[in-house]
Symmetry: D2
Subunit: 310 residues, 4 copies
């Protein structure tokens, strides 16, 4: 259970307050505001704040004095046009802020999206919690043979059990020795008065990469779509993909028209190379074409056949 009782109380207190605003407001997102969506064994994603809605995209594209919207169908059409033709700036006019709890090795991938604003819980100032990620057995998989960057089938049960034992024992020892070196409890009080304690900025180096960290992460809608299209992709590591999937749920609530266009033009479609386009034209014309004649590599050819469902 990722949330402690005092944290839960803080969240409930924040949720219980409300105010009048003239700003664009999205009831479906307000409904879940501040509420953590569980991800992995101890992680979560929750929306902390947002700016704008579907209409704000339209309003910015039209540089309006007022709401700038027309009938829903016209707004939907404009949003689709903008996404299809790679107009990025209107989507930058919406902003969202998340609070995320995630394993450090996931945070290391995530942080490579440089356009976001980030405030991470600091192991220099504060003591980290004793929480680490352990995969479920079905997510413990062998190295993929077809893809150097990925995983294949699940491990046999006995091997999975052995791996989980190692991960658990090492993480527990790692934290036990971290706590020993710090020699202070959560409130900062010395535990063993007969010895000093190691500075927090040093002791933390003993923790392993499956320990959880947390951060506030804020981005605009354009960069959020980029993040989601890369991290919700089948090639992304499972442990970051589940965060992206949870965030797509918040996208649906926040900006439903943009989310619809995102599925149509960004994640539901396909990018064809020049050679692939030539192949597709020949296939439509009923001409026979195979991989050797296509000029494509075997790998690209099989990627294309997968896209075409053949």
């Amino acid at each position: 259970m990722p949330i402690k009782p005092e944290e839960k109380a803080e969240i409930e207190s924040a949720r219980s307050q409300s105010a009048q605003t003239r700003r664009a407001t999205v009831p479906a997102l307000e409904e879940v505001l501040f509420t953590p969506m569980p991800v992995l064994d101890h992680g979560f994603v929750r929306v902390i704040d947002y700016m704008g809605d579907d209409s704000a995209v339209v309003q910015a594209a039209r540089v309006s004095y007022g709401k700038g919207t027309k009938r829903v169908n016209e707004d939907r059409g404009l949003i689709q046009y903008l996404l299809r033709h790679r107009h990025t700036t209107p989507f930058e006019m919406c902003e969202i802020k998340y609070h995320v709890k995630l394993p450090i090795f996931v945070a290391r991938q995530w942080i490579r999206h440089r356009t976001a604003n980030v405030n991470e819980y600091s192991g220099r100032y504060s003591i980290l919690d004793n929480e680490f990620y352990l995969p479920t057995p079905e997510h413990l998989a062998v190295q993929s043979t077809s893809n150097r960057q990925g995983r294949g089938d699940s491990l046999p049960p006995d091997e999975a059990a052995r791996v989980l034992d190692l991960l658990r024992e090492d993480a527990m020892r790692s934290y036990r020795d971290y706590a020993y070196m710090l020699n202070e409890d959560e409130s900062g009080k010395t535990v063993d008065e007969s010895r000093s304690g190691l500075a927090r900025e040093l002791a933390r180096m003993n923790l392993s990469l499956n320990f959880y960290t947390q951060w506030y992460w804020k981005t605009d809608l354009h960069n959020l779509l980029n993040f989601l299209s890369l991290r919700a992709d089948a090639h992304a590591q499972y442990e970051i993909r589940v965060y992206a999937d949870a965030m797509i749920e918040t996208l649906d609530k926040w900006v439903p028209l943009v989310a619809e266009a995102f599925r149509q033009y960004r994640i539901g479609g396909a990018q064809l190379s020049a050679s692939a386009l030539t192949v597709v034209k020949k296939m439509i014309a009923g001409e026979y074409i195979d991989q050797p004649a296509s000029g494509m590599s075997k790998r690209e050819w099989s990627e294309l056949m997968a896209v075409l469902g053949r």
Copy 2:
């Protein structure tokens, strides 16, 4: 008067609507939301949307589950500490969106702040309004002799009048010929059926740099402070400084504790060089020091004496 009646109606309509929200809300900023603050002869700045408040800075710095704030004095102290020690990320957790109408030559300086999100009214799609900037006589000044990048005393009245005549006549002719080349009225209807019209993306090149454009401009609080400290500075061109001044008024309403710290640590203080610091130490010790002995150039020396009020 920069706002047309139909625009005013749109603004009033937007201001008349409100909704409940769980988000951080700032009544003082809500009060002026959407309302244009006049700048120069036809320009304005107005706040369109905002995310966060003083507490959001504190909350992010503490990576809180709830509001994250303590007593006002502690929050003030933390905000001052953060700004003094160049912690930038907590300030990135607040965001603001403006609608700005401004002369093109001002827009060309402004756009160099690359971290903002911008949607500009497009002269490729739309017809630009017949509005251009004319300085007031007291702002028509000679080139500065002490500063290659600036202006000195005002022009004599007869010269100022001559300059204003030239600027006005040239801008009017510029627009008249722009409209002639377009050969369409505001609604897109052809004016003279006996001839074609030039494409908008071409005709606009005839307009001069004092014509007004407008954009939606959105930025986080950290980058807003950078913008304001550079553009509200005495070295900034007057025509952009007045926009920065108007925006500082919105800063005061939005995040009063940050605005206070900004005055204390960013615009009210001074940066001393290594040599300047040595000079100051000697002066405090009561030692005599002059420019030649300081190792500073004459210009730097006089800049330092100005800072020290001597």
Copy 3:
């Protein structure tokens, strides 16, 4: 002729010098280094400096201690893989710096690519040259009827002549009055001692958007490819497209393997939406499908048919 004799002499002098370096060096690009490629009537693009080559992309992808390259075919394959799978960071490891002379209205589009480094010639410090862009008659076109953002057929010859006269006269008057208001010659000497001159930062507002400016523009290879794919596109305004076309020539000299992959995966292919992919699958299967049955708008359908060459 865009280059003055003294500028030409400076360029020749720079070209005549050379030194030994251990850095990656590209002879084909060295050959044209510093040499202006003419664009439009007074503009140019020239390469001022570069960092890295095709191998630098490979070397970074492999985080190598040495050159990191293997056989050319393996390097080509890796570069194609990286571009196909949207790996952006290896391409950021190459950098190029251009000196560009361009009309202000083109500069205003160009500057929206925010990731580049830019140093523009300053009209606050310096006097701008009397050079403005006049389109050739065949590029003077009517507003497109099918595309709100673009141009259609060329103007009839008499109308084109009339437009050119207006553009020329207005630009000449604009500059004449700019020079009058400045009241100084190129060397900064007062022309008419009986009157003052207007500050440069003010006088420049009288110039129209077809006047030329110039800048140093530096970017990494990843962002250069983004720029080129958007600005060499058929939807880009002609006056910026010709700059992108000239820069693609420098890309071919600098990083031929990347340029080849760029044509294959970025500008030679096509992005299909989810609906378009369904249509393509049906067409390959020999099923009849038309626009109403496709769920696509007329405009999207005709865009797809154009892509498929039907």
Copy 4:
């Protein structure tokens, strides 16, 4: 010794090659190009490539056709003027690329400088080396009492020895189990044929934050100065400060005039707040002032007295 023999051979081979170039070239930096400077127990920094020199800053500020430089003293003066007045864009015209080997917890601080380009060695693709950071005993220190973010005195020898034992044992176990779970040797060959191996992207989570990673890191000179002023500062953690110190050595070789100005205006001087400036003025005027009368907090007052050497 951080460099393996085959890596050393690759470096030597790269260093032995050279070519003619027309680009700005810096002999003092060429001298050390590719050579690793050791940092911490297994880390290093080495310059892989660079673009521009002191003159390139000047050339960009002047938007020159040729080298753009004048006499050294004028160039020095211009560079100092630019840095003093916060002109950032000319410094963005130089670029440098490093190869860095560093502990993961240092990499996590470093990566927060978002404007750089980074290619990190990937634990999804590749097996990480068995190398981890152990502080020297004198750098094992207690938590600072005056600064929540830092360290104080060194630990007593017996405690330091105990801490080092824990860090070493945990890291060794961590890697042993990582290798066991992978079940493959460096060449990718299965070690124990009777069982599968865990995917690399999963196994890596067992490594602790003191393990070394490596990356190519490329940035422009402006952002490098920002990085160095923050990370070479006394408040930065020791383990990142030693990297910044090594990089300042490369700065001195690369752009000596900029390095000189950097010491004068960025790291050798001081930022005074509005209140601090008032205090300094009073002290110079010989007036008595103490902390309570200054309106400054005790902490700020003591920071100011430290700056003034009192």
